[in-house]
């Protein structure tokens, strides 16, 4: 895209007055998002428990702890796992939405958006009630004498995955569905005409065309999953601890805002790195904004 340079903001006939509408949100974002981010970043190199000449003292502290590194690695592992699970569930779901009649597709859309209508915390507590040793599943199976000991469902990675994929699934389904809708059905028919069996037509024609949606959905889910906090705390075991829990503990319990800011900056940096790497394969504009062809 050619760079637009030298355009005059005032006067000139090319000035679009509607652009003024963007001013309040930009001011808002700068005041309540950008400025705090800068403050947090500065704090990570200025706020130490003891005076020290080393601006990177908090970073040394962070990387000196094996638990921090373990939990950071775990954060990315849990996010990757959630992405894979959401993809495995979301792709077939989006495919189904794409092939059924519009009315049914609308119902399926509502079904996937339904969880949004209650709070994350409520849903996570609901999973607790379902999954725990004295929860619905275990009580039923114990009473029915199917099992003698409760199944370990809660305080496992499985529990975290159930809780997180339920929250994140729409972010996978919707981008994939949007891309699928744009794929001309004639392509698959043409492939069939040329002798491709249904699966080959899917694999060689439909699937590649839907990949932009897959990448967009996966990126969105992965990045969102990196910041999860409540779900792993309530449904996971200590081994499922994620970095946001450490940040909360540093900020709220120990008032160590220096290390809390440092962890936040590290998480933000790694998230940006993921986005940057992803931007080489997928247009971020498609992920976070318009999916219209340009």
């Amino acid at each position: 895209m050619p760079r637009i340079t030298g355009r005059r903001v005032s006067g000139g006939p090319s000035f679009n007055r509607w652009a003024l509408l963007a001013v309040p949100p930009i001011v808002f974002l700068v005041a309540f998002f950008l400025v705090p981010l800068i403050v947090v970043s500065l704090r990570s190199v200025t706020d130490f428990p003891k005076p020290t000449g080393d601006a990177l003292a908090n970073y040394s502290r962070f990387f000196a702890s094996a638990a921090n590194l373990r939990v950071l690695g775990n954060t990315f592992w849990v996010a990757a796992l959630s992405t894979v699970i959401c993809l495995a569930l979301g792709y077939p779901y989006a495919y189904l939405m794409n092939i059924v009649r519009p009315r049914l597709a609308g119902l399926l859309l509502i079904a996937v958006l339904l969880p949004f209508w209650s709070s994350l915390l409520v849903r996570t507590y609901a999973w607790q009630v379902i999954l725990r040793d004295t929860g619905i599943i275990n009580t039923f199976l114990l009473d029915a004498k199917v099992i003698e000991e409760p199944l370990q469902l809660i305080r496992t990675t499985l529990g975290v995955m159930l809780g997180m994929s339920q929250v994140l699934l729409p972010f996978m389904v919707l981008p994939i569905y949007a891309v699928m809708r744009r794929i001309d059905p004639e392509y698959t028919r043409a492939a069939a005409n040329l002798g491709a069996p249904p699966f080959a037509a899917f694999r060689r024609v439909f699937l590649p065309l839907s990949l932009p949606g897959v990448l967009a959905g996966s990126l969105l889910v992965f990045v969102l999953a990196l910041g999860f906090y409540i779900t792993p705390a309530l449904l996971g075991s200590p081994k499922d601890t994620m970095i946001s829990q450490f940040i909360a503990s540093a900020i709220q319990q120990r008032l160590d805002w220096g290390i809390g800011s440092t962890m936040a900056v590290i998480l933000m940096g790694l998230t940006l790195a993921v986005l940057l790497a992803a931007s080489r394969v997928v247009r971020l504009r498609d992920v976070f904004g318009s999916l219209e062809e340009s």
Binding site: P49, S65, A66, A67, N68, R70, V71, N74, F116, S119, L120, L121, R132, D133, T134, R155, V167, P170, F171, L174, P175, A178, R181, R182, L220, V223, L224, G227, F228, Y229, I230, T231, A233, P238, K239, T241, S244, F246, I247, A248, S249, I251, Q252, Q253, R254, L255, D256, W257, V287, F288, G289, S290, L291, E292
Partner: protein, 391 residues
């Protein structure tokens, strides 16, 4: 396609929202019903001799005597913001202290139900102090937080009547409670666990164990007591020894982050035993009607504290209230509504609830947190805790 473009903008926006919420939501366990105590071995019952004020302090002494029964009238329109941890706890403080004090002095109370050390810090750092009196846990209010707090006015507050070690430069204890062992009698088969050693004995008492998910919440202390360390010899904590003991039940531990969670876990029998704040065990039994009992042996007696954030415009009014609420005449009032006891040595607790109070169950097995040591070693404790827990 336009409609789709719009819905995607919407989805992206809600995605950001969910992201923000997942980061921000959550109990701040630093307090939810508080945390605990002091190194000095307090003598929580037993009357102390009446203080004899030196002659030079006479005016202060007489004002301190008056303030208990006849606190100074507040100026017209005066308001104080009181922040505590909400729920039944704050309701007890409201009925026991705020309402009577408002009636006596004419001051209007505004309340916040989400006390948090982090909020105090944010208010003071930004110069926007809106909380005047804050009920905080035992991990806050020591010299480490000097730049966030006003020194208390001990010409008004009767320091010598407060339990030894529970009144510091920046904080004075308002209620006492116990970090105790509670057990679900459905899960213990008629046996009574005798202390922390039984908490760690999953052969004798099968079932999971509830634990406060906080490095300074008692986890190391109870592990050491279970391992045979006498309560008075707990500090400095032998962390490697505690970790070794904790390893023996690591797979059986269920961590809770808020008082409500702990009450639910022990009440439902999801855990057979739990480290828990005594008020939460009380509520599980008496409010939720669950088969829950408390073993007082090995309890850690601790306290919530009043602090005054630095820079509040209502400092003097706040000091008056704190002095009044810690007087022997008034300090025990909330114990009518919740089993949290007085911190004034001479304050009577509500007779109906006296047996349920931490301070009524003190014996040689009772421990006290050494808050000074714990705060000074907070980083060490946290690192050891997370290293052990996440491994």
């Amino acid at each position: 396609m336009t409609i789709w473009r719009h819905s995607f903008l919407l989805v992206a926006a809600s995605a950001l929202l969910v992201g923000a919420c997942s980061g921000g939501a959550g109990a701040s366990p630093g307090g939810a019903a508080a945390t605990g105590g002091t190194s000095a071995s307090a003598a929580p019952t037993g009357a102390a001799p009446e203080s004899v004020a030196p002659a030079s302090a006479d005016p202060a002494a007489s004002s301190a005597a008056d303030i208990c029964t006849n606190p100074p009238k507040a100026p017209e329109g005066a308001a104080l913001t009181f922040s505590s941890y909400g729920g039944a706890y704050q309701e007890a403080q409201r009925k026991g202290w705020l309402e009577p004090y408002a009636a006596l002095t004419g001051v209007k109370f505004q309340e916040s139900e989400d006390s948090s050390n982090a909020t105090i810090k944010a208010q003071v750092e930004s110069g926007q102090v809106t909380w005047d009196i804050v009920d905080v846990g035992n991990d806050f209010g020591l010299d480490a937080n000097a730049d966030l707090l006003e020194p208390l006015d001990y010409t008004k507050i009767k320091k010598d009547e407060i339990l030894d070690g529970f009144a510091g430069t920046y904080r004075v204890a308002d209620i006492t409670y116990g970090v105790v062992l509670a057990y679900n009698t459905d899960k213990t088969g008629g046996q009574v666990p005798q202390g922390w050693a039984d908490y760690f004995d999953t052969a004798k008492f099968p079932g999971k164990r509830g634990m406060y998910d906080y490095s300074a919440g008692g986890i190391f202390e109870v592990a050491l007591m279970a391992d045979g360390v006498a309560p008075k010899d707990l500090y400095p904590l032998d962390i490697p020894r505690a970790v070794k003991k904790l390893d023996t039940i690591k797979e059986d531990l269920v961590f809770w982050g808020s008082g409500a969670e702990s009450q639910d876990l022990i009440g439902k029998g999801e855990v057979a035993m739990s480290l828990i704040w005594n008020g939460r065990a009380y509520s599980a039994k008496n409010i939720d009607k669950k088969p829950v009992e408390i073993q007082w042996k090995g309890q850690i007696v601790t306290s919530d504290y009043f602090v005054v954030p630095k820079g509040t415009p209502n400092k003097d009014l706040a000091m008056d209230f704190i002095a009044w609420a810690t007087c022997k005449e008034n300090n025990g009032a909330p114990s009518k509504y919740i089993p949290y006891g007085p911190t004034n040595k001479n304050a009577p607790a509500d007779p109906a609830n006296a047996a349920q109070l931490s301070v009524s169950n003190v014996d040689e097995s009772t421990a006290y947190f050494d808050d000074v040591w714990v705060v000074e070693n907070a980083q060490l404790l946290e690192d050891a805790y997370q290293e052990w827990k996440t491994k």
